[in-house]
């Protein structure tokens, strides 16, 4: 039987602290020390500044106390003005976001003239660490069917694998079960890209012809082979070329054009009848 004693509680507290530390440290950027030091420096410096300013005013400026009342009035006015500006700023941010979404949709529309576009957004992501399926807010009621291509203004997202009335599941190109036939921009040779388990930002390109010259920075497009994805949708850029002893086995890592970590707005391509 578990005893609710002090050592048990201490153990739980220590475990919580360890867990929080792990989460924080593994999600921090490289300049961890800067980030740790900054708040302390800021706090100390703010107090120091305030102290110095008070000392300076009291010792050097005799008119400090006489102008206190007028400063209060000025403070209230500024406070009101600040509130007003904050409101306006919020409205501007909302307008900016809307403008961005509309521009993105317009960009997509220009690229895929032969398709009917169904805009939507991501409502859920797979919680599994080994799967990268997303759920979008458009489904059968919007005319979505299986195997339809999903894109953003930046490039290819994936294809619809299952449809419900008001939502659909999309297998993204970064999923390990996903394979996309692609073309390299500087040649007409194809290769196959597959998702890798440990990244949402890159995919692995294999089956590269021996005679193809590939360079870092080359853009990759969908080839249209396979019948799911239309031709010429941007997939990403070659980030790393890994040469093996046997040239046939060489592969590349492609940085995806779409940022899957922050993916929200998408468009489903629906063939016009």
């Amino acid at each position: 039987m578990y005893k609710d004693n002090k050592s048990g509680k201490l153990g739980i507290i220590i475990t919580i602290v360890i867990l929080i530390c792990l989460v924080i440290f593994t999600n921090l950027d490289n300049n961890i020390i800067d980030k740790i030091v900054n708040p302390f420096t800021k706090a100390t410096m703010s107090i120091q500044c305030a102290y110095t300013s008070v000392v300076n005013k009291m010792t050097k400026d005799e008119a400090y106390f006489s102008s206190l009342e007028s400063a209060k009035v000025q403070y209230e006015e500024l406070k009101k003005e600040n509130e007003k500006l904050k409101d306006e700023n919020q409205k501007m941010i909302a307008i900016q976001a809307e403008n961005k979404t509309l521009k993105e949709q317009l960009g997509v529309a220009e690229n895929y003239l032969s398709y009917e576009l169904v805009p939507g957004y991501v409502i859920q992501r797979d919680f599994s660490n080994y799967s990268k399926v997303i759920v979008i807010n458009v489904g059968k009621k919007d005319g979505i069917e299986n195997n339809m291509t999903v894109v953003t203004d930046k490039g290819l997202v994936g294809y619809v694998v299952s449809v419900e009335d008001n939502s659909s599941k999309v297998q993204t190109i970064v999923d390990t079960a996903s394979a996309v036939s692609c073309l390299i921009s500087n040649s007409e040779k194809s290769m196959v890209t597959r998702g890798v388990l440990d990244s949402n930002k890159k995919i692995k390109g294999t089956y590269i012809d021996n005679d193809v010259v590939i360079n870092e920075g080359d853009t990759i497009y969908s080839s249209g082979i396979g019948g799911i994805y239309p031709k010429n949708i941007c997939i990403g850029k070659i980030k790393e070329i890994v040469n093996t002893q046997n040239k046939t086995n060489r592969y590349v890592y492609v940085e995806t054009a779409v940022d899957f970590d922050n993916l929200s707005d998408i468009v489903v391509l629906k063939k016009q009848k």
Partner: protein, 177 residues
């Protein structure tokens, strides 16, 4: 009546876990890796109720999870049914009051679940799995699950004993003591 109360509590707990899994742990993660709370939930139902209840809950939760997230229906349902069913059987050999037993059972269950899920995915969907990346992610996931079991063990244990008292029909006749 008490059984009905337990079932309602389990449904509420499921939705809390669902919220945590989908929303909270998507940002509160270790190196981008999330724990798997559904497996732990089903396992604890199996341990503290009985095989039948564990299997039924495992099946329902697994199926629901498949409907919501997976592109193939059934794999989570089968695996969680198995975990729920085995929970009580395995714990009979050990003590369910031992924290170590619970931690080990939780860790092994998650490992088995993830192993079979990935094996299924690579067999039937031709998923390309890099072994080292897989081990790395799995190790973090197991560590995360272990830490969560340690933190929530007192809560799990108390609720578990209550559920157990409802589901086991051994009425204690206190007047004879």
């Amino acid at each position: 009546m008490k059984k009905f109360g337990v079932i309602v509590s389990l449904i509420v707990i499921y939705f809390v876990i669902y919220f945590l899994q989908v929303n909270f742990f998507s940002w509160f993660n270790i190196a981008g890796v999330q724990p798997n709370l559904f497996v732990l939930f089903v396992l604890f139902i199996g341990i503290f109720t009985n095989e039948k209840m564990g299997a039924v809950c495992g099946f329902i939760i697994g199926l629901y999870t498949d409907f919501l997230f997976s592109n193939s229906i059934g794999i989570s349902a089968v695996l969680l049914t198995f975990i729920g069913h085995c929970g009580e059987k395995i714990v009979k050999r050990f003590s369910r009051d031992s924290k170590l037993t619970i931690i080990l059972m939780g860790t092994i269950s998650v490992a088995v679940y993830e192993l079979l899920c990935v094996a299924y995915k690579s067999l039937f969907f031709s998923a390309s799995i890099n072994f080292l990346s897989y081990i790395y992610i799995l190790a973090i996931e197991l560590l995360f699950n272990m830490l969560l079991i340690i933190i929530f063990y007192p809560l799990i244990h108390r609720f578990g004993l209550f559920v157990e008292s409802v589901y086991s029909n051994n009425k204690m006749l206190t007047r004879y003591f």
